[in-house]
């Protein structure tokens, strides 16, 4: 049976791991390679690295980091942040990333998803969607959550799938960093809108949140950052808890 994946996310700024509350007030959470190695050893099913300050000058630093991570761990990992072109993506894949994630650039130019899928295969292309209620509807936000768009979240997920996305990473911004549980309604809406794997993100605070997510939605993976970095939740205990609760877990 296919297992539900638990994915620690490492937000990277200037080569360090950070984690914000509601995407701001960043706190330092350590060396990404050391954390990656620790999470892999503790049973993480996959990792995601989001470079939240990706700029052209910093691209080289990111590639160097990706290459160090790829040597250190033997589980798959995704890298995102500032990927604007197929060339950017190829650099990261050649450095050793298994998948790349696009967000703002895909909203601005959805054709990018198709170009990436054609060159790298859909399985390499994660479309990350930051969602929040705007005028009563779940809408897509870009630029690290700072800019609202007129796109409805489920419609954009469907469109991303049609362009060739291989996976959707859905972050409920209103929940992010709060530890108050996943946004089950929005997650399930997106799961029903697409037939791709969906990674749920935003709001994980305790083991029961993961259990509820997997029992009440079709999400295939759960992503969290702060709860892991600051030791509030340990992967082995979380996975043991979910196994006991009959959730299919590696």
């Amino acid at each position: 049976m296919l297992k539900k994946r638990i994915i620690p996310c490492l937000d990277i700024r200037d080569g360090r791991t950070v984690k914000g509350i509601h995407f701001e007030q960043l706190r330092d959470a350590g060396d990404p390679v050391a954390l990656a190695r620790q999470y892999a050893a503790e049973g993480a099913d996959e990792l995601v690295f989001l470079d939240i300050t990706a700029t052209v000058e910093k691209r080289k630093t990111l590639c160097a980091l990706v290459s160090r991570v790829a040597k250190a761990i033997h589980i798959p990992f995704t890298v995102g942040g500032g990927i604007n072109s197929v060339a950017d993506a190829i650099q990261l894949i050649q450095s050793g990333a298994d998948k790349i994630s696009v967000n703002t650039a895909a909203v601005q130019r959805p054709g990018l998803i198709g170009e990436l899928a054609a060159r790298l295969g859909s399985q390499c292309v994660v479309v990350a969607i930051d969602t929040r209620i705007n005028a009563g509807q779940q809408c897509v936000f870009t630029h690290g959550g700072r800019q609202a768009t007129s796109l409805f979240t489920t419609a954009w997920a469907r469109q991303a799938a049609a362009y060739g996305a291989g996976e959707i990473l859905l972050t409920a911004m209103g929940k992010d960093g709060t530890g108050s549980g996943f946004d089950l309604t929005t997650i399930q809406e997106v799961c029903q809108a697409v037939s791709l794997p969906v990674i749920a993100s935003g709001g994980a605070g305790c083991p029961d949140d993961f259990k509820t997510l997997f029992e009440t939605t079709e999400a295939t993976a759960a992503l969290a950052a702060g709860v892991f970095h600051f030791g509030k939740l340990r992967l082995p205990e979380l996975k043991a808890y979910l196994k006991t609760a009959q959730i299919p877990i590696r």
């Binding site: 790829a70 050793g96 295969g121 079709e218």
Partner: protein, 192 residues
């Protein structure tokens, strides 16, 4: 020397890294002579079947690979190219394994992405590997079970998780990304 067949398809870095973690060096090449001399040959791959086959044909590797006598390991797309035919881009393959590659039918989420357990493993590739070991898959097409199937996986239906015929081995999952179980499988291949 271990040759990793380099063809226009994706991430070979992770295969090289995995071999390095096992203390072995590999070279990535599409050179016929180097591949022929290699002690072991790995055909990795993420990418699209028809364009990958096209590249192998342009380099004459579609004819070379089936004639190799050293152990050969196809991974993911590599496995699919070693079959008779793939629905992806409707392409013929190298016909090493007598089976066909089809797209998962509608009903489950595709790609089949994540950790799934092996079943009914047999042969030296799986020596010392747990009977229900979880390994990492990411694919939208699958090789149907056949006489060469040496491990099965279930996702909507049963498909070939691994195949073997004589010196030809292939894994639909990514041993290079499958933590301890994957490392054990790669190590078994290296000691064939």
């Amino acid at each position: 020397m271990i040759a990793i067949v380099e063809y226009n398809a994706g991430n070979i870095r992770s295969v090289i890294n995995a071999l390095e973690r096992l203390g072995r060096e590999a070279i990535a090449t599409d050179d016929e002579a180097l591949i022929r001399q290699a002690e072991k040959v790995i055909l990795p791959g993420v990418g699209e079947a028809a364009s990958a086959m096209q590249y192998l044909r342009e380099k004459g590797l579609d004819r070379l690979l089936p004639t190799l006598e050293q152990p050969v390991l196809g991974i993911c797309l590599g496995l699919q190219l070693m079959c008779r035919f793939s629905e992806e881009g409707t392409t013929t393959g190298m016909s090493i394994f007598d089976t066909v590659v089809r797209r998962f039918p509608p009903g489950a989420r595709v790609p089949h992405m994540g950790w799934n357990n092996l079943q009914q493993q047999e042969g030296p590739l799986f020596a010392g590997v747990d009977a229900e070991a979880d390994v990492y898959f990411v694919h939208s097409y699958y090789a149907a079970c056949c006489a060469d199937t040496i491990a099965v996986c279930d996702y909507q239906l049963s498909f070939s998780a691994a195949l073997q015929k004589n010196n030809f081995y292939a894994a639909q999952f990514h041993p290079e990304k499958s933590a301890g179980a994957g490392a054990a499988i790669l190590k078994n291949f290296l000691s064939l």
